[in-house]
């Protein structure tokens, strides 16, 4: 009986192919949007994780404030770190291989007629070494430059091309905001990050110069820590939290006013943001599935009216209400599943193109496709039920008389 209903459904659907196609368009778009969204979102999460982990699984980031990147409960008033905190960490913790202070601002870099807004990072050679970021032209900072906070800088590849084109920048002087700064080197090109931001969009200067001439204070907004090989990052993290509490004299009842994040946490936080975005977009896309369902209900109601006589004939030869209901319900479900199939194909194609464009991996998840299928079947059942029930409840004589 279900087989017969399936055959009938397919026949009825392809009897009016164009109409059926237009009917399922809403489902197609909904399913395609959800699948494309989730697949690309998943790909970009994977990419973020991979990127962050490529920084090294042995890296810890120390920041003032409880939730470094989330909303600050303390309104951003957490006590800042200073340069001597970096040194304390280095001397107190032999498990730490390097620790580097970091401060950052966005400033306009000017050379001659060219100007270019860029990120200015105050740090020192230790950071460049720990992140494996070689100077490919010119040189790194000298010890005396770092100590005295001389206004020298190393350019990221993008800033170099923007300001100097093909000319050699080493030895030239650029302006960063109001500060004049001698260019001493150029960093190796790194390319785009997981979020599409250009990592070469950067100017690096000694932290002391940054503090004095750019930030106007002695704060360190972030401490970058690399753990020595052979030590567990988790253990070091715990120990560091202990040390920092002591250094910042936090009482046993008080909460931390800083955070130590390892790369796993950082990755999961970043992918968390990504997932929330993906979820929101998918929810919007799911609304079109709902609209698609209403389209199906509409056309099924039309179909029931058009086929009233057929229903009358079926009832006359002995069809029971449930069998008529089943026939129309199966038709609605087949219709919406068809939309699900078309939508899945379209969605995967869109995701493949989108992944290519955003340069994230294309990793279709069979579970997502399956869910989209299940959901479109559900839409068919839910929105097909009302028309099908109407068909099943028709009065046989009136149905037979219907013209």
């Amino acid at each position: 009986m279900i087989w017969e209903a399936l055959k009938l459904a397919v026949k009825a659907i392809f009897r009016n192919t164009l109409r059926s196609f237009l009917t399922v368009l809403g489902i197609v778009i909904g399913v395609a949007a959800v699948i494309a969204m989730v697949t690309v979102g998943q790909g970009s999460s994977d990419r973020v994780t991979a990127d962050v982990e490529s920084l090294g699984t042995n890296v810890l980031i120390v920041q003032p404030g409880k939730d470094a990147m989330g909303p600050r409960r303390d309104g951003g008033q957490a006590r800042p770190f200073g340069l001597k905190d970096v040194e304390t960490i280095l001397t107190e913790m032999p498990e730490v291989e390097t620790a580097a202070p970091i401060g950052s601002r966005t400033l306009t870099a000017v050379f001659g007629n060219e100007n270019h807004a860029t990120q200015v990072l105050g740090t020192d050679n230790r950071y460049l070494r720990a992140t494996d970021w070689p100077v490919v032209m010119g040189r790194g900072f000298t010890e005396s430059e770092e100590r005295s906070g001389k206004a020298v800088c190393i350019l990221g590849e993008t800033v170099r091309t923007e300001l100097f084109g093909f000319a050699d920048p080493v030895g030239e002087t650029i302006r960063l905001g109001t500060l004049s700064c001698d260019v001493i080197g150029v960093l190796e090109a790194k390319g785009a990050s997981s979020f599409g931001s250009d990592q070469d969009e950067i100017v690096v200067m000694p932290i002391r110069a940054f503090q004095r001439r750019v930030a106007g204070n002695t704060n360190v907004s972030m401490i970058f820590v690399a753990v020595r090989d052979g030590f567990s990052t988790d253990d070091v993290k715990l120990e560091m939290e202990f040390l920092l509490r002591e250094m910042r004299r936090i009482g046993p009842e008080e909460e931390d006013d800083f955070s130590v994040m390892d790369m796993k946490q950082l990755a999961s936080m970043l992918t968390g943001i990504n997932n929330v975005l993906t979820g929101l977009l998918s929810a919007v896309a799911a609304v079109s599935l709902l609209v698609g369902g209403i389209g199906i209900m509409n056309i099924m109601l039309v179909s029931v009216t058009e086929r009233t006589r057929e229903i009358g004939i079926r009832l006359a030869v002995g069809a029971q209400g449930g069998q008529v209901l089943m026939q129309f319900l199966v038709e609605a479900v087949v219709l919406s599943l068809l939309g699900g199939v078309l939508g899945s194909i379209l969605g995967l194609a869109l995701a493949a193109v989108g992944a290519q464009m955003l340069s994230v991996p294309f990793t279709p998840d069979p579970l997502v496709v399956l869910m989209a299928f299940a959901f479109s079947a559900l839409v068919g059942v839910v929105f097909g039920f009302f028309p099908a029930r109407r068909a099943a409840r028709l009065d046989p004589i009136e149905a037979l008389r219907h013209q």
């Binding site: 079926r314 009832l315 006359a316 002995g318």
Partner: protein, 249 residues
């Protein structure tokens, strides 16, 4: 009524069927009682609007009387649910309509198969039975024609094949020849008579045409929702006045 101890196949007891209420009330059937024995060929005649179709629909379990009792094989149909009445139609009744009522864009074979699908018959058996029924009505070779590709007479043959494919006990035909010319009508009647004999069918037929009614062996004449005459097919003329008692022509 012959007292055999067995209930008749069909018994109508004081059936009324009222459409509408109050001012607009129409008594389509007004106290109709009659029995139909298995194997009978009954013709129902009467003026337009006298309630013939309404009576057929009640007998066919497509409609429910407003009051009165309808016993099929001794079972009170009033006590059956909608689905049980569907089962009764499925297993015991076959319908032939004036307008043929075939499924459009569906081949003759598939139309004839329809009742068998609801009987839950498997495909091979179904095809066999449907072909057999089409052969019986003389439509061999037309199995794969759509109704739109068949003449009126051929369409009605398909409808008869469909009514018979489920091997019903009773065939209900409401003006089966109403849309056909006389020659074709006579062919259809000959077919019904032959099938009745071969299969020992009970046939109830509504008709306006005397020539068609003559093939039956019993006549009910209805007037204004009431049975005005009920008896063996008379030899004399079959017009209204002759049928209504107390009116002499």
């Amino acid at each position: 009524m012959a007292d055999t101890g067995m209930p008749p196949l069909i018994r109508l007891e004081d059936i009324t069927r009222i459409y509408g209420t109050g001012e607009a009330e129409v008594r389509a059937l007004d106290g109709v009682s009659f029995d139909i024995a298995a194997g009978e060929f009954l013709a129902i005649m009467g003026p337009s609007g006298s309630g013939k179709s309404t009576a057929m629909n009640v007998v066919g379990c497509l409609d429910r009387p407003t009051s009165g009792h309808y016993f099929f094989n001794g079972v009170d149909v009033a006590g059956l649910t909608r689905d049980q009445r569907a089962l009764l139609r499925r297993h015991y009744l076959g319908f032939v309509f004036q307008g043929f009522n075939l499924l459009p864009r569906t081949t003759a074979l598939e139309n004839v198969e329809l009742p068998l699908i609801y009987k839950g018959m498997d495909r091979t058996e179904r095809l066999h039975r449907a072909r057999e029924a089409l052969r019986l009505v003389g439509l061999e070779g037309r199995e794969h024609h759509d109704p739109s590709e068949l003449s009126g007479g051929q369409q009605q043959r398909v409808a008869i094949a469909r009514a018979l494919s489920g091997a019903p006990e009773v065939v209900l035909a409401d003006e089966p020849t109403g849309n056909l010319d006389t020659k074709t009508s006579l062919e259809i009647m000959a077919l019904l008579v032959r099938l009745r004999q071969e299969r020992n069918l009970t046939i109830v037929m509504v008709t306006h045409e005397e020539d068609m009614a003559r093939h039956a062996d019993r006549l009910i004449w209805m007037v204004d929702g009431k049975v005005a005459h009920d008896g063996p097919m008379p030899d004399g003329p079959l017009h209204g006045a002759a049928m209504v008692p107390g009116v002499t022509s």
